[in-house]
């Protein structure tokens, strides 16, 4: 195919150096809670003013891909996701770390992310124009039902406490309404505090609900013990065929979810990971231990959050509609270098755009090796005593939250969300559900409002008249059914416990 010739353009010293710089910076900054890919990309822009457009853009897209994966390091090792895209990975990944399986988690997460990024990159290369047309089909009705689909994931990730999980999700929806209402400009639930007028941001919520809450949890128990309960870590960071085979369908589901959700503007990685995770739980088999370090759960979430990266650039490159904050920053970089997004980009500047896309693909490839070594080195933090780790995580929470926005209120909100997350986790109210509600609330509300306006207050008939909405509604019904249906893996655990209890009763007799 003719785009292959542009692969050679990437293999110059300057382009490769830009790629490696982007990977390293993206991994480091992505790992720190609060900083994340958008900040990392924004930092790269001034450095690249004098560079050739393709070199500058290779730097940006490499930083983006690596930043998304970098957030998974701290999610898996410390339950402190560096980005909102890695929050779901914190659930199974951290449970694996607690059981001394940190290196296994890193292996699987690296493989899933690298392959997800590669597949997404090839989708970007060969399917950009047709997939862009699909993204145009998403209107207010579709956004609203996609948000509802994301909300059904709450039931799946509540691990048996479905009612409490759904309450947590609705509580998150309520939190998302704090601030000035976009339609009427009316202040909601701010109780006279001007700092709350801008609402509760996703970043303070993620950092608070997971990282800060986790730091508080680390204060329980012996301060000298470490997270993993082991004294040394294995250096075996190469993915094993047996592990890949065990998780093959989980990986496929994760990648598919990421590819599809990537083309939905505004949904992106934050939603994709939860849908992938919920799907995985629903497909669980006897013997799977979701919520206790199930590697398939991690494979699905990691596959989806990097599977999103390539396809999320499609609406941006082809239509000029950024799919998320990172894509918006890259769009800015594109325009700074004199390129206009759209069909003409592919027609008039194929040497630039295809070189950048190949750069993105190669960045995912090389990211694997660099990321695995960095993650394995970072895994040493799991050997730190808990009493030392907890205050360090709290300091990073404060600095990360403030560095991202410069707003003291975000720091205070983060602390409050941390306290909420700590008690929610303790009493089975799913912090993940709260976070999902906060993320999906604005999307759902905006979609619902627009549907009400367009349909002149007949939302149901309007939503049902659109075929994409019908498909998504069907998926919602299936998801709700499976959420309440006893899981094959859950049933096996219950049967095992019943057998154990019966055995103990017999002994007593």
């Amino acid at each position: 195919m003719e785009s292959f010739e542009y692969l050679l353009n990437v293999l110059t010293f300057t382009n490769m150096a830009a790629m490696f710089a982007g990977i390293v910076v993206g991994l480091i900054i992505g790992a720190i809670p609060g900083l994340g890919p958008p900040m990392a990309i924004a930092l790269m822009i001034p450095l690249s003013f004098e560079w050739a457009p393709e070199t500058a853009l290779i730097l940006m897209v490499s930083t983006y891909a690596a930043g998304i994966y970098g957030g998974s390091f701290t999610a898996i090792l410390l339950r402190a996701p560096g980005t909102s895209a890695s929050a779901a990975s914190a659930i199974e990944g951290y449970e694996m770390t607690k059981r001394g399986r940190a290196t296994e988690a890193i292996r699987m997460s690296t493989f899933a992310s690298v392959m997800g990024g590669l597949i997404s990159g090839f989708a970007l290369l060969y399917l950009a124009p047709p997939l862009a047309k699909v993204s145009l089909l998403f209107g207010p009705a579709e956004f609203f039902v996609v948000a509802l689909l994301g909300l059904t994931a709450i039931a799946a990730v509540s691990f048996g406490a479905v009612l409490k999980g759904l309450i947590a999700g609705l509580f998150g929806l309520l939190i998302s309404t704090i601030g000035v209402d976009a339609a009427s400009a009316y202040p909601r639930f701010n109780y006279g505090m001007t700092g709350l007028l801008s609402g509760v941001g996703i970043l303070p919520a993620v950092i608070g609900l997971f990282a800060f809450a986790q730091a508080l949890s680390l204060c329980e128990g012996s301060p000298k013990s470490n997270i993993s309960g082991t004294t040394k870590l294995s250096w075996n960071i190469m993915p094993r065929w047996s592990e890949i085979k065990h998780c093959r369908w989980s990986l496929v589901r994760g990648w598919t979810t990421g590819l599809v959700m990537g083309i939905v503007p505004a949904a992106g990685a934050s939603v994709a990971q939860w849908i992938a995770y919920a799907w995985e739980i629903q497909r669980g088999k006897p013997g799977d231990k979701f919520g206790e370090g199930e590697v398939k759960g991690l494979a699905a979430t990691e596959g989806s959050n990097n599977g999103v990266t390539g396809t999320s650039l499609i609406p941006m490159f082809v239509l000029g509609i950024p799919g998320g904050i990172s894509a918006a920053v890259i769009l800015g970089a594109l325009m700074i270098h004199g390129l206009q997004p759209g069909d003409r980009l592919f027609r008039d500047s194929p040497d630039v755009i295809f070189t950048v896309i190949w750069g993105f693909i190669l960045a995912n490839f090389f990211m694997g090796g660099i990321a695995a070594v960095m993650a394995r080195t970072m895994a040493y933090v799991t050997l730190f005593p808990r009493g030392l780790l907890a205050p360090i995580i709290m300091v990073f929470c404060v600095v990360g939250t403030f560095a991202a926005s410069g707003n003291p209120w975000d720091v205070w909100i983060m602390v409050v969300m941390g306290i909420v997350g700590y008690f929610a986790h303790k009493y089975n109210f799913s912090p993940a559900g709260i976070l999902l509600g906060i993320i999906l609330g604005p999307i759902a509300e905006q979609g619902l409002r627009n549907v009400l306006i367009i349909s002149s207050d007949s939302p149901f008939s309007f939503i049902l008249s659109r075929w994409i909405s019908d498909v998504i509604i069907f998926m919602i019904i299936v998801a709700i059914y499976y959420a309440f249906k006893p899981k094959a893996w859950d049933k096996a655990v219950e049967e095992g416990e019943a057998t154990l209890a019966a055995g103990e009763e017999k002994k007593g007799d």
């Binding site: 309450i167 609705l170 909601r188 009493g387 205050p391 709290m394 300091v395 404060v398 600095v399 720091v411």
Partner: protein
Amino acid sequence: MTKLLAERVVALALILVAAIMYTQTIDWPQRAGAFPQFAEFGIMILAFGMLLRTFVPSMSTDLKGMVKFDFSHFALKPIYVMLVGVIYAFAVFEIGFYVTSFVFYFIATYLTGLRDHKVIVITALILFPLLYAFFTLALGAFLPEGILF
């Protein structure tokens, strides 16, 4: 207190809070309250479901036994650190990030019960210069300054 009673109390508290919040949204103009009301109704319905569940023995098998309240120092450590963390989050903007974080680090470490002074001091001597080098020098991030650094 039994777990069953605790679950009922929590369910009733959720219904009450959601109802109070609902009353606040009634007069909001231009449907500003529509979405919050949707969430509040949902919480009330689900909390009612939680309450009903406690009256069906087959559905509340996980609520057997008593709630254990542990007020020992060991159990209250996270609460102490939480309170100090709240003070830290406010003090950072009055005193300054680096000085407050340095003091907070030692207080919080002490509250967790860790007494390995060598490790604590060495970690502080490495961590804070690294924080300064990375955030202030490398990233040029503006961190809070108050009466001190």
